[in-house]
């Protein structure tokens, strides 16, 4: 990112340079600024990994909304992180069809092999967070797992160690 003065309190705005351009392109798709809120929040999460209160205030300012309104929207949608998560974020589907096909075993295997231990907790080295999610919409490919933006089908407990190795190494 290019050099620019940081705002008071050392906050580095997200919507500068290329990210600002991306937002401007998105704004053209809608009749008002508010409609760009979900895409703007995605841009923040892509840039920072999660969405802090300060980020929400920036989004509010850019889109002429109130921070409270932005927070109301962020808290509605489960994919926006309101806290930092591990570098590898694992989402395992455990809704009924996957449950029938053994999804619980897949969750258990991820918790074991990543050292994340508890659902929603991040491993001590900051590299893994594992959560259970509701229906990922790939029930015929049980158990689907999202690791970061990679949608992986037909995961079984036996396949978990290799997947964990792959992402651990890939991120080095």
């Amino acid at each position: 990112m290019s050099a620019h003065p940081t705002a008071a309190g050392g906050y580095q705005p997200v919507f500068l340079g290329k990210t600002r351009e991306q937002l401007d392109t998105i704004l053209k798709r809608y009749p008002n600024k508010q409609a760009a809120l979900l895409p703007a929040l995605w841009l923040v999460q892509e840039a920072r990994g999660w969405i802090s209160d300060r980020n929400m205030a920036e989004v509010a300012e850019v889109l002429a909304l109130t921070p409270a309104y932005v927070k109301g929207v962020v808290t509605f949608y489960t994919m926006y992180h309101q806290h930092p998560v591990g570098r590898n974020f694992v989402q395992v589907c455990t809704t009924s069809p996957c449950n029938l096909c053994g999804a619980e075993g897949v969750v258990k295997a991820f918790l074991e092999h990543t050292a994340a231990r508890d659902l929603g907790a991040t491993s001590p080295d900051g590299s893994w967070t594992v959560i259970e999610v509701e229906c990922l919409g790939a029930c015929g490919f049980a158990t689907p797992v999202l690791i970061n933006d990679d949608f992986i089908e037909s995961v079984t407990p036996e396949k978990v160690p290799a997947l964990v190795r792959k992402y651990r190494e890939g991120r080095r």
């Binding site: 979900l38 929040l41 994919m79 809704t95 509701e134 919409g137 029930c139 015929g140």
Partner: protein
């Protein structure tokens, strides 16, 4: 990641004709396969003529409600005074359903072509395709297809944009989806006004499911009569439909059949039936929001809107969840209730409280601490959750509970009487 099966001889491949054919994903590949011919045809037709053709085809909405598509389009103002919008519902999240994902992954241009035709029919200049946030791969494929189609100039003046959802089942409800596009919490709206009068941004809007729009190009190309002739049972249900089969079956996947096809053949012939040595116990034929069928009902059910209604259930989205005799129905129903409790937008009291309490009571039963009055309590709760809220999420939670207690009461009673080992901790 590949398409999991070769077409079964009993399938009628219209929408799924090019599934598994990677070349069909590109603009060039799609054109080579006769793509965008229907769109060219539509451009030479008046909007009224396109709508008439759709009405004659008998196509009904494939998202779950089964509303006639041509009729829905005809509700849009004929005389255009304000901007018109089309929303494409690609927020596929109904447990058991994974058909729209496959359409977007394999035939993105089929959806774009159907979208373009629909936009012409309803005189919309802007179309938003709302894809659920978790569908990273379909989103990327759609984005590339849109880019290629735009570069080729095939879409003319139409403005089509992709919108990424952010994890909310309820955004598949049409007005919640519109709120989400507007940058709001995905709360469903009170109807009326209906979208054709005041939809996204308060302007006339039509919203269609992915599978519905994907069926539009073949209808224009081959004619309404051709589509209407594809019917095995009730003439009110025409054409083909993708059924997503999952759960306890040997060959899960999407199978496309003509309306009125026997559910039994779909499960046993196409999906290979339940694993060896086990027996079919139950089936949810239209995604988790519809009443559960027992074995007898499953084996005599015909897959069309009327055939499902005859068995006291619904065709819904065509998500077929199969349970064999190893399934604990009490646990499975709890797991479904937990899904709805998680996904309730919490606007309506009956839903916010009802889905949560239904889950808690079922968990108490599974922990061996159920009370003898719990089943009546669940039924009473369900009654107060049905037909009383802004949208049908609450009803969807009640459907498996009520049908589950009715058809598998013995399993609940075993927990209540202490004859079944608790599977949960209180």
């Amino acid at each position: 990641m590949g398409y999991p099966h070769k077409p079964h001889p009993k399938e009628t491949a219209v929408l799924s004709k090019h599934f598994g054919d990677a070349e069909a994903r590109s603009y060039k590949g799609w054109v080579k396969r006769g793509g965008y011919e229907a769109w060219k045809q539509a451009q030479a037709m008046t909007p009224a003529a396109i709508i008439e053709e759709l009405k004659n085809s008998g196509l009904r909405g494939r998202g779950g409600a089964g509303f006639p598509t041509g009729l829905k389009w005809s509700f849009m103002p004929k005389e255009k005074k304000k901007p018109h919008y089309l929303c494409v519902n690609a927020d596929e999240s109904e447990p058991g359903t994974f058909k729209d994902r496959e359409i977007m992954r394999w035939t993105p241009h089929q959806l774009l072509e159907g979208t373009a035709i629909a936009m012409r029919a309803i005189q919309a200049e802007v179309g938003y395709i709302y894809v659920r946030g978790e569908f990273t791969e379909p989103f990327a494929i759609m984005a590339q297809a849109l880019d290629e189609a735009s570069k080729a100039g095939i879409l003319g003046d139409l403005k089509i944009y992709l919108v990424r959802g952010a994890g909310a089942y309820i955004c598949g409800e049409e007005t919640a989806l519109m709120n989400s596009i507007e940058g709001k919490r995905g709360n469903p709206r009170i109807k009326p006004p209906f979208p054709a009068a005041a939809g996204v941004f308060g302007l006339p809007t039509t919203i269609n499911n992915v599978e519905t729009l994907a069926a539009v190009p073949p209808i224009l190309k081959n004619g309404a009569a051709w589509y209407k002739a594809m019917c095995l049972s009730n003439p009110k249900s025409t054409g083909t439909k993708l059924f997503s089969v999952c759960g306890h079956v040997q060959r899960p996947g999407n199978y496309e059949v003509t309306m009125g096809f026997p559910l039994k053949d779909l499960i046993y012939d196409m999906a290979g039936g339940v694993p060896k040595g086990r027996a079919l116990k139950a089936c949810i034929p239209g995604g988790s929001s519809v009443p559960i069928l027992n074995r007898e009902e499953t084996e005599s059910c015909l897959l069309d809107y009327e055939g499902c209604a005859e068995k006291g259930t619904m065709l819904g989205s065509g998500g077929v969840i199969v349970f064999d005799d190893s399934a604990d129905m009490v646990y499975q129903i709890m797991r479904l209730a937990r899904f709805y409790a998680h996904e309730s937008c919490a606007q309506c009291t009956q839903c916010r409280e009802g889905t949560a309490w239904t889950t808690k009571i079922l968990q108490r039963i599974l922990a061996g601490q159920g009370k003898s009055t719990d089943l009546d309590l669940l039924l009473d709760l369900s009654e107060n959750m049905t037909g009383k809220t802004i949208c049908v999420l609450s009803d969807s939670c009640a459907a498996p509970v009520v049908s589950g207690i009715k058809k598998f009461r013995g399993e609940f009673e075993e927990y209540l009487a202490g004859r079944r080992k608790p599977v949960m901790v209180a």
